[in-house]
Symmetry: C3
Subunit: 188 residues, 3 copies
């Protein structure tokens, strides 16, 4: 065995060490490239006592000073909202939905609009079949907010990642539209 | 060093490359074998105003058109149910429980029975000690539904996986029994 | 190539095999060392109808036999509490907060005090910027309880781990303080 082959083996070993240590991901480098990426929109219409036909969400919990048709004082602190919202590929509420966003959000701050989100996307299109589970903190007044993708099923089997949420539009307390940029970093 | 040893090293290196790339799990293969598997049942008896002694769950949130003893119209949309249900090894409600299923489910669709689940199994038996955390979308009318196993403690330290949920039996809106086939793919 | 180099290569290969098999974490060894660790405290003051100025949390869901200012009978079973609590580095409520704990807990047992937790820490200090998402079972009467860290953002990008929760102090049903020992085992 000549020196050339030996050095090639050592180079391969060195590459392994590098890959292995990056895979242990104990470094500080957060500039990972997503292994899969999806940008989707969802549309939430909160029930306000008058819009039963169109509403896609309803207040189901409120603090003692609140009620179930108007979001509460103090930045809606304590309101629990359950939703079943259409998911679309673009920002048009009337585009054909590719799935549903289902779950709950909880307004959880007294002096600023922030929510804690726990929900899933259930996708049912020619491109994707499966569900994606999200949890995270959503400070509504910040332009881009990161939440966690904690799991998935079907085409998103065991996936994990980060979703960047942006408020794309809102009308009063009743309609809002979120743009969700889903970046998977663990794809299986 | 003779050619035989060199080739053995190269074979080992090749095996590493294979293992390493499968561990990156960026392929399309979803036919992974679970590293641990458990099939368990849990039994939910919803409080209806008359069954306080037996009930294992209670409606704690409802939309404006609902109440706290009868699941709401429109596929129970908006009902939040908190539960503490016995977990058994077989489908008999009266079998000795091996743990508890605790958490909440939220009915989150207006025109079909679907729920968003967020709960844990707390197992306390000679076989298993620890907790398993689940979240996910549960379309009740589908025979087998996959949800995410997002973490665990004790014997399930850091585990992730998929749980396949099936409705094993139900009686009206008050009793239902779920079969949960828990497949861990990341076992630590 | 002499025998010395060959044996060094074999040692390196052996080391790889060891690292690789530990990284597959399919063994029974749960004595992993955290790749990052944080000990923090958070302080919860439940709204009781009289303490609106100081309260950091509010009951927003209750079973039919409960209400929104007093935690319910039967170990508070069914109470859903939304919180926005200060996070501090030590056990002093009046220390400068390094972040907020936000989310919900659900009392989910009829005959003992246990809760199901789903919340995040949002840290905003010179040391850490980012969020950490938790879910898990919390038997309040047990000294040390493990819950799951299911994801994170910012400095906690994609992190997973275990948090050990201890009740550090409580006063009646209104104030309690939790010590959270966050051990990340998957750091990226």
């Amino acid at each position: 065995m000549d020196a050339q082959i030996t050095s090639k083996i050592l180079v391969l070993l060195f590459m392994f060490l590098t890959v292995s240590s990056s895979h242990n991901h104990e470094g500080n480098n957060k500039h990972y490239k997503p292994c899969k990426r999806l940008v989707l929109f969802f549309h939430d219409i909160v029930y306000d006592g008058t819009n039963a036909a169109n509403a896609t969400s309803a207040i189901v919990g409120a603090p003692q000073w609140g009620n179930l048709t108007i979001l509460a004082n103090q930045s809606h602190f304590g309101n629990v909202v359950v939703f079943d919202d259409p998911v679309t590929l673009d920002n048009n509420l009337h585009s054909p939905p590719v799935g549903r966003a289902q779950g709950q959000y909880v307004y959880d701050t007294k002096n600023v609009f922030t929510a804690w989100l726990a929900f899933c996307f259930v996708l049912n299109s020619t491109d994707y079949q499966g569900s994606i589970n999200f949890v995270g903190y959503d400070p509504l007044m910040v332009k881009a907010r990161d939440i966690s993708v904690v799991g998935g099923t079907g085409d998103f089997f065991m996936h994990r990642g980060i979703a960047t949420v942006m408020t794309d539009a809102f009308e009063g307390n009743v309609y809002f539209r979120l743009r969700v940029d889903i970046k998977f970093y663990d794809c299986w």
